[in-house]
Amino acid sequence: MRLIISAALLLIFVMNSLFVSAYDIPEADSLFYVNDLADILSEETEEYIVSVNDKLYAMTGAQVVIVTIQSLGGADLEEYATEMFRSYGIGSREKDNGVLILLSLDDRACRMEIGYGLEGVINDAKSGRIQDDYMIPYFRDGKWDEGMKNGFDAVLAESSNEYGVDVGSSAPTVLKTLPQEKEDVPWNKDSNTVGMIAMGIGFVVGLIMGFLIPSFWIGIISCLISPFAGHYLMKAYMPEMDLLMLYMSDFGILLFYFIGWAITTKTVDKSGSDSSYDSSSSSRSYHSGSSSHSSSGSSSSRSGGGGRSGGGGSSRRF
């Protein structure tokens, strides 16, 4: 009998060792959204991350998990992060919209692993930039807590913008030294606003021109010229502005000229402002407002939604 039991135990042991994963991925703790194994995050930051995530998950099913570890123990950063992402199941299963921000202290390495569902908003290049602009500068000074929180805020800003929700996260601080004069332009930060203003100007210009020169061909020619002029003017003053926005405002000027022209010459009864300009919201079109995700509510039952990463994201050694 003892022989059978010991044989069974041995078998179980052997089987276990076969099924154990390649690395020792630490278990997610009860907070789930923060696992501060290197013990570098402040209590406020942890609470903040958890509370923001609770709202985010309830509204969109997305999850942004922060993990800090002391050392990778020789493991490959990318593989480790992917395996951790999968074993935690970050993000919802259907949308795979999780983000894992992993920092290994001793290796001085950081990785942002992005679930497939969020790759459209935070592609590899952007995840690298978030790290460069928002996190690495802090990390270089050993300000781990600030760096992680700032990176978290940057990711949150992107993802909540994507879903069109407000989860009460604070705005991230840009650390990269920007050229000085850009700070003076009040609408520099929001290229959509710039585009709207440009379109407004285009609208007025178009109307006036339409009234002044009710000739179709002159109108066409000025339409062809004015967008380029506007384009170069704007490019000179706002080099940061999104190219897409520039072209859209060009298009806006053109469109509104035609409306102005049409009003004056053909007296078509069609008010110019009627053509509601919704397309200025640029490329963001994915709005999943009321999602079916019911909040898990109680504080102790947080867990992953079953997201699987395909290995997207980027890594930094600093």
Binding site: D124, G310, G311
Partner: protein
């Protein structure tokens, strides 16, 4: 008594039909998994191949004297695009990885290029794609292993050759194909 024999015969016939059917269906769905895992790799490889021309164009201006290394990347890309089958594709992918890591060594001599925002983005995209290939490859090989096991084990082995289930080829070049050329921005 006769009734009992009849039931036994029916039971045996049902089992004789049920086993091949369920085995066959199992093998079909497993093979589907293998195929979809492989097309995952292919999608990422395609993306990698698509990124290379962008990379070449963005570095051309900086590296007029490094034509040889740039050509080697372009050639490796061509081979990858034209490769067929898991083995050949894996080798071609590995060759491209090698060419890119040689290139990354040279990049160290061009600080202007290294600081270029566009170049950093491209390198991030490439590194991300390489990592996705690694993940997709691992997933595929695991699924291929379970499929290959299925068609070699009883009862699959009796039906595999009958229905033309060939073993899946593993996506494997040398071990080092996972050594993704890292992009180092330590700035030192």
């Amino acid at each position: 008594m006769k009734k009992g024999v009849l039931i036994a015969i029916i039971a045996i016939v049902v089992i004789l039909i049920a086993i091949p059917v369920s085995t066959y269906n199992g093998m079909v769905s497993e093979q589907e998994n293998v195929n979809s895992a492989y097309s995952n790799i292919e999608a990422q490889l395609q993306r990698r191949a698509d990124l290379i021309p962008n990379l070449v164009n963005s570095v051309k201006g900086y590296m007029q004297h490094e034509e040889k290394i740039i050509n080697s990347i372009t050639e490796a890309r061509e081979k990858l695009v034209n490769a067929h089958g898991a083995k050949e594709t894996a080798d071609a992918n590995e060759a491209l990885t090698q060419a890119l890591s040689n290139f990354n060594v040279i990049v160290e001599n061009y600080p202007d290029l290294k600081a270029n925002e566009n170049f950093i983005q491209l390198q991030d995209e490439l590194a991300g794609t390489e990592n996705r290939i690694a993940v997709a490859r691992k997933d595929y090989n695991e699924i291929a292993k379970s499929y290959n096991g299925m068609i070699r084990r009883i009862p699959g082995v009796f039906f595999a050759s009958m229905f033309g289930f060939d073993p899946a080829e593993y996506f494997e070049a040398s071990e080092s194909s996972h050594a993704v050329p890292g992009v180092d921005f330590s700035g030192n």
